[in-house]
Symmetry: C2
């Protein structure tokens, strides 16, 4: 059997044992499938997609909580919300209880897009079936949860 490329495989050396390196490498794959299943067709970036799905699952949320869940700084979140608001996907409502705060609310259009996005998740994940069994996929997600900051 001849290997696919003429050039020999690179040795990873110390990288071999570095979790972050393998996370980054695996992310190349998932970013590519995301782009094709969600990014391009729905014109959404990863964070935008995650944000819409969080609102769909939880109802209105304060920017503060969204920022923490998505690891976004306050200024960057503001800009992100600006973009989504300009597209009429969300709106900001002043909180009644604490008038410094807002509730970020999905518009009808935003909810529709979020639902479409949620439906795209399954076929997107199906693309991994050639690389991982169902059990492996579940195990992988479980292990990633343990690594994740709380």
């Amino acid at each position: 059997m001849i290997s696919r490329t003429e050039t020999p495989q690179l040795s990873l050396g110390a990288l071999e044992d570095i979790l972050g390196f393998h996370l980054a490498t695996a992310t190349v794959t998932t970013m590519d499938t995301f782009e094709r299943h969600v990014g391009t067709p729905l014109n959404l970036r990863k964070v935008e997609y995650s944000l819409l799905l969080l609102l769909l699952a939880n109802g209105p949320l304060a920017p503060k909580r969204l920022g923490r869940a998505l690891a976004l700084s306050a200024p960057n979140l503001t800009l992100l919300l600006d973009r989504l608001q300009q597209r009429d996907l969300i709106r900001r409502e002043r909180s009644e209880s604490d008038r410094r705060s807002h509730n970020i609310v999905l518009t009808d259009e935003g909810r529709q897009l979020a639902e479409t996005g949620a439906q795209a998740a399954d076929p997107m994940e199906r693309e991994l079936d050639s690389r991982l069994t169902r059990a492996e996929r579940l195990m992988l997600i479980e292990l990633l949860r343990k690594v994740a900051a709380r």
Copy 2:
């Protein structure tokens, strides 16, 4: 037992089953430990670190191969190599066999830094011991390899 924060946990909804989301979340943890163990003390970004370790493990390599291994476009790789060269960590040597191509070679200083970086890998990974057992860590890396593009 009272939960650490007053606010209830967010529901992930459809994100729950999306591998890319969990990869991104776990990456927050590894990026943080990388920053403290390597990024700040050695003044290296993730790609720079990976590139040096690849050279350390494989000897001189052509930019073409580095770009493929690190998922970098040619122009971005050029800029990256410029920075490393300015710091006297690498040098570019014209290839004898194909004078369009280069060999990227670690300087003595670059090799030293790469070795220091390689030694930092172990304590860095040790930080994950509170989150993952050794077996889980190995399993996780194995699963990430399967996800990774080839």
